[in-house]
């Protein structure tokens, strides 16, 4: 969970920074998209480096899901008889209890996101458009429900990271007595920055700041 999660978090940071290029105009954004495909040139040919990144991410996602399913199944076997009384959680807050169903929502969100902005099959600008055209078309004001779905998806990612970042450090044995509170605060701060950084672009398109 921790190692595959860390790979995905590193990707998210890069992805968010890249997205913000939308504020620098269509040329800057499209140029960045071209750079992603020509990374490592001339040593590597077109899209080789990007494909490697995509394969690493896909493997990380599959292993992350495999670990999550294994943990959920072990938890089910460890408590065959459930408690009759329901109780409130005493620890670590709301985010902890969103990890499993939240993970499924994030997965559905990622599938839609790839169909929308990567493959373009559910995007009005389609496969033929430039990345910038697809971005502007997807979050157009009349398609406000797409932006709303992205807000839900990204907030779920944020909640997932709110617990996941700190939990990964704990799993890898990197958290200790004194660093406990600062690490938890840092996990919350990184999650908040990622959520805001990801949401500012679709919202800017929807309200017409980016067009």
């Amino acid at each position: 969970m921790a190692v595959t999660g860390a790979v995905l978090v590193l990707f998210l940071v890069g992805h968010m920074v890249g997205n913000l290029k939308a504020f620098l105009g269509a040329d800057s954004f499209n140029e960045y998209a071209t750079f992603l495909r020509t990374m490592g040139a001339p040593l590597l040919t077109y899209r080789v480096a990007l494909t490697v990144v995509e394969v690493v991410l896909a493997v990380a996602i599959v292993l992350h899901m495999w670990a999550a399913i294994t943990l959920a199944r072990r938890a089910g076997r460890a408590r065959p008889v459930k408690y009759a009384a329901r109780r409130k959680s005493q620890a670590n807050g709301y985010a902890v209890h969103t990890m499993r169903y939240g993970g499924v929502i994030v997965l559905l969100f990622v599938v839609y996101h790839l169909l929308d902005l990567t493959i373009g099959v559910v995007n009005p600008a389609g496969w033929g458009g430039t990345p910038y055209e697809r971005l502007v078309a997807s979050f157009a004001p009349e398609r406000w429900w797409v932006t709303a779905f992205y807000v839900v998806g990204v907030v779920m990612v944020g909640l997932h990271l709110r617990h996941g970042l700190w939990s990964a450090l704990q799993t890898l044995g990197l958290a200790s007595g004194r660093s406990h509170r600062p690490l938890k605060a840092a996990a919350a701060a990184v999650s908040a920055v990622l959520v805001l950084g990801f949401l500012v672009v679709p919202v800017a398109v929807m309200i017409g700041v980016i067009k």
Partner: protein, 245 residues
């Protein structure tokens, strides 16, 4: 005080078990939860009924024998308290209280609220000890131990092995118990020679017993009557990763 109890009754390991409702009247707020059950049991015996079986021994919060899930909370909602030290003044008059045993596959129910915690003993047997000649106590300070380490080791050593961490964990994980025992020894000089083999053996035994995996929810620490910190789990993970290299 007058109370309504919904108690898990199970005749034996093979019985399916069911919740049974009892009315308990004239309960003193100064009684402990166990004393309240004693009063109910005396009445059940007089009525020719089978008394409710529950584990208990010292009744002063240090032995780790007692433990039941009260209204869904291991040892009740009161923090850092064992069931024997939980007093009825924390409940309201006419309250309806649900009482269940620890629920975990590695803690099979023996009868009513009594569970078999031998799985904890087997985790200790796997490595929760130091193999040194047990002579007389060494001179104080002959082996220096940092104050911070001594304090952390002592905090971990306060684990009474009651099993509340497992009962409270949504995953049914025994990580806090195992981590407390590993941390207690791995912070002290006496624990160093077997540090790696201990971490490996105890973690493997914990998994073999059928406990769930840890997802760092923190419910264990919140319900632990001794407040064993979650850091012990990070220490266990550190030791286990170190031993696996």
């Amino acid at each position: 005080m007058n109370l309504t109890l919904k108690v898990w009754r199970q005749r034996g390991p093979q019985d399916k078990g069911r919740m049974v409702t009892y009315r308990v009247e004239d309960v003193s707020p100064d009684m402990s939860f166990l004393e309240m059950l004693d009063v109910l049991n005396e009445r059940l015996i007089l009525e020719g009924d089978d008394p409710i079986a529950f584990d208990h021994d010292c009744r002063e919060g240090i032995c780790g024998m007692c433990g039941m899930v009260i209204n869904g909370y291991a040892h009740g909602e009161q923090v850092a308290t064992t069931t024997c030290q939980l007093h009825m003044r924390h409940f309201e008059d006419e309250a309806v209280i649900t009482v269940e045993p620890w629920r975990a596959a590695p803690f099979p129910v023996v009868k009513d609220l009594v569970v078999d915690r031998s799985s904890f003993d087997r985790i200790i047997q796997a490595g929760g000890f130091i193999s040194v000649p047990a002579g007389s106590a060494p001179d104080a300070h002959s082996v220096p131990v940092k104050k911070a380490d001594a304090d952390a080791a002592f905090d971990a050593a306060t684990c009474i092995g009651c099993g509340a961490c497992v009962a409270a964990c949504p995953n049914g994980s025994a990580s806090l118990f195992t981590a407390a025992k590993i941390t207690h020894l791995s912070l002290l000089p006496q624990g160093q020679p077997e540090r790696d083999s201990r971490a490996r053996a105890m973690v493997e035994q914990m998994d073999a017993e059928g406990f769930g995996g840890c997802t760092n929810t923190g419910e264990c620490t919140a319900s632990c009557p001794k407040g064993i910190p979650l850091d012990t789990i990070a220490q266990m993970n550190r030791d286990y990763l170190r031993a696996s290299k």
